[in-house]
Amino acid sequence: MGAAVAKDGLRRNNEVPMLEVKNLHVTVDGKQILNGLDLTVNKGEVHAIMGPNGSGKSTLSYVMAGKPGYEATQGQILLDGEDLLTMEPDERAAKGLFLAFQYPLEIPGVATMTFLRTALNAQRKKRGQDELSTPAFLKLVRDAAAKLEIDPEMLRRGVNVGFSGGEKKRNEVLQMALLEPRLCVLDETDSGLDIDALKIVSDGVNRLRSPDRAMVVITHYQRLLEHIVPDVVHVLSRGRIVRSGGKELALELEARGYAEYQQEEAALAS
């Protein structure tokens, strides 16, 4: 493992990679969406996954998190060497995986505070840690919310109920900040955000960058990557990664579009 298998020719160290996706095939409703996807992410790195609509970006995020209906027919998703595919979604979260949803759901009747506290304590329990005391929890949430300019009054409401698109995305980043995952997967976090909200959300994400944490940023547009600057950019097309490069690849995609990758795939298939 390690340096020898670096398919994309990018920098590698000798540690076990944080995330290794190997030959992943996924079907949804009987339709093959991912088709032998390989991806290696080392700790401390931020990888961007770009690609045209329908290339399988969201499928990758959902199958990593364990959404029902997303069936891996072949391959592995290893987080710190453990296969996530055999785990329930909550076990994956406790292992340190966090998916920031493209469309965060509204949960009427479950107060955001209750939700955050239940999630945090469930993860702590699975890791053999004590539950947080109420004052400690409240301080943690207040500080994290303040950094994301979230009005504490909103946390009393049902999860995401009556939140604007931008507020929902900020709430996702708030959860990420509180749960302190090892691997963050951000699915189209920029969609539906205006410039100001994009900045707040990106700053929130950037504060979480650390040598011990990795991120996979899924996006259609290069715009988000001006704020969250990736170490590696991958192009996803028809269910597999067809090209990888440095952050300049995102600019190239922005300028030239995805057409050639779709053509390339078509040529390969013929």
Partner: protein
């Protein structure tokens, strides 16, 4: 040729008639009450126990469900009273004035009749019936449903005790009044309780009824509620009990003008439970909220049937009922809103929602509107479905185990209806019961 079907009387129907003949001399009441009982028994003998041939009982065939009538309950002994002291826990530790009924009989030593606030008069129904209390003469049996109701007739014939509560004009009763109905005797029995609550013009009070029972009980309870003009009444009924409990309850309310009624029914036990509510708007500008939450498991059957009669115009009615069904349980919701020809500007809305936690559970919903006025706003809705898989996934993706995620969603579902209760402590107590129910489901 007309073939009129005269059903053969069931064993239970005959047994009730016999029980009445044997007990009538001992049942409380003056001559007028005795006549009321006799008339009610004649009505019962005509209608019999309601069966599925009766539209309002289509989903709850009481005639088939109640095959054997239990004997009338004996007066409670010391042991039964001692066990009843535990009853009433259903409402948590909220501060309320307790009136305790054991096997249908008022027990003064377990009740709190001291220091009644000004304008509050409480009397055991047996005593009021015997003494010819003017409120009994004036109201009892007068807030009845519009059509003959076999179970109400049977209750009138066999009523033994209950509460007569009178809140005089303009009085405000701060402490909720908690009617604790416990059936804790040794032997299987049938219990008939009847209460009358009169809240006069401009008065305000909150009433809580909690019903719990030992094994082998058949309970038929009825409460008539008279709400005066500009009065404000909260009524919360909680029903629990073992799987063989048959509990039939009739809440009959007549409301004056510019008044407020906020009623809630919480069901968390019993084998067969029928809560029927009849509300009549007699005066204009009144607001009534009728809400309920039901948690069912095993083979429980809970029926919530409402009949909202907008006789007067300019009134608002709101119904929100939520049911959570597990295992092979069955829920019934029937809500009928009638808007009479002159009841213009009526605003009536009814919503029922069922959450099915099991493939074998069954939710029946039947909203009905009968509108005879042309300037009204009426609406109804009904939903039934499983837990939202996407919401569960979202919660699980944050590290919350499946069972906890489902519990959060069920609590949220029930909570929306429970929010309708104004008393915060009672809301918390009921939500604690929901949490306990969910915990028991998982273990």
């Amino acid at each position: 040729m007309n073939a009129e079907i005269i059903p053969v009387k069931t064993g239970a129907e005959l047994a009730f008639a016999e029980a009445f003949a044997a007990a009538k001399a001992a049942l409380p009441g003056d001559r007028a009450v005795a006549a009321l009982r006799e008339a009610a028994l004649r009505d019962f003998n005509t209608t019999g126990l309601p069966s599925r041939r009766v539209e309002q009982w289509h989903y709850t065939d009481l005639r088939a469900m109640l095959r054997d009538a239990k004997p009338l309950a004996a007066a409670p002994d010391a042991a039964a009273k001692a066990r009843a002291d535990e009853a009433g826990r259903l409402v948590g530790d909220i501060d309320a004035r307790r009136l305790v009924f054991v096997d249908g009989v008022f027990v003064p030593e377990l009740s709190d009749l001291a220091n009644l606030s000004a304008g509050l008069i409480v009397r055991p129904m047996a005593q009021a019936l015997a003494a010819g209390d003017p409120l009994v003469a004036r109201h009892l049996g007068k807030v009845a449903p519009p059509e003959a109701e076999g179970v109400v007739s049977l209750n009138t014939a066999l009523m033994r005790d209950g509460a007569l509560i009178h809140v005089v004009k303009g009085a405000t009763v701060e402490r909720p009044i908690h009617l604790v109905f416990a059936a804790t005797g040794q032997k299987p029995a049938s219990v008939f309780t009847r209460s009358l609550v009169v809240v006069e013009d401009g008065a305000r009070a909150m009433f809580i009824e909690s019903h719990d029972a030992a094994e082998g009980r058949q309970v038929n309870t009825a409460l008539e509620l008279v709400v005066g003009d500009k009065a404000h009444v909260d009524h919360v009924k909680i029903t629990a009990g073992p799987d063989d409990l048959i509990h039939v309850s009739s809440l009959m309310a007549a409301i004056g003008a510019q008044a407020h009624l906020n009623a809630f029914a919480f069901n968390i036990g019993g084998g067969v439970v029928r809560n029927q509510t009849f509300v009549r708007f007699d005066g204009e500008g009144t607001v009534a909220g009728l809400r309920g939450a039901t948690l069912l498991k095993g083979k429980q059957h809970v029926d919530s049937t409402l009949m909202v009669d907008h006789k007067a115009g300019g009134c608002q009615s709101r119904e929100v009922f939520a049911s959570v069904l597990d295992d092979e349980s069955r829920s019934v919701f029937q809500g009928k809103i009638v808007v009479r020809p002159h009841a213009q500007k009526t605003d009536a809305r009814m919503m029922t929602r069922s959450l099915l936690l099991s493939d074998n559970a069954e939710a029946n919903s039947k909203p009905e509107l009968e509108i005879f006025a042309d300037d009204v706003q009426c609406g109804h809705g009904a939903t039934a479905g499983a837990l939202d898989e996407d919401l569960r996934f979202y919660l699980m993706a944050r590290g919350i185990p499946k069972a906890d995620a489902e519990a959060l969603l069920v609590q949220a579902f029930v909570g929306e209806a429970v929010e309708g209760i104004e008393h915060a402590g009672l809301r918390d107590a009921l939500m604690a019961q929901v949490a306990a129910w969910l915990k028991a489901r998982r273990s």
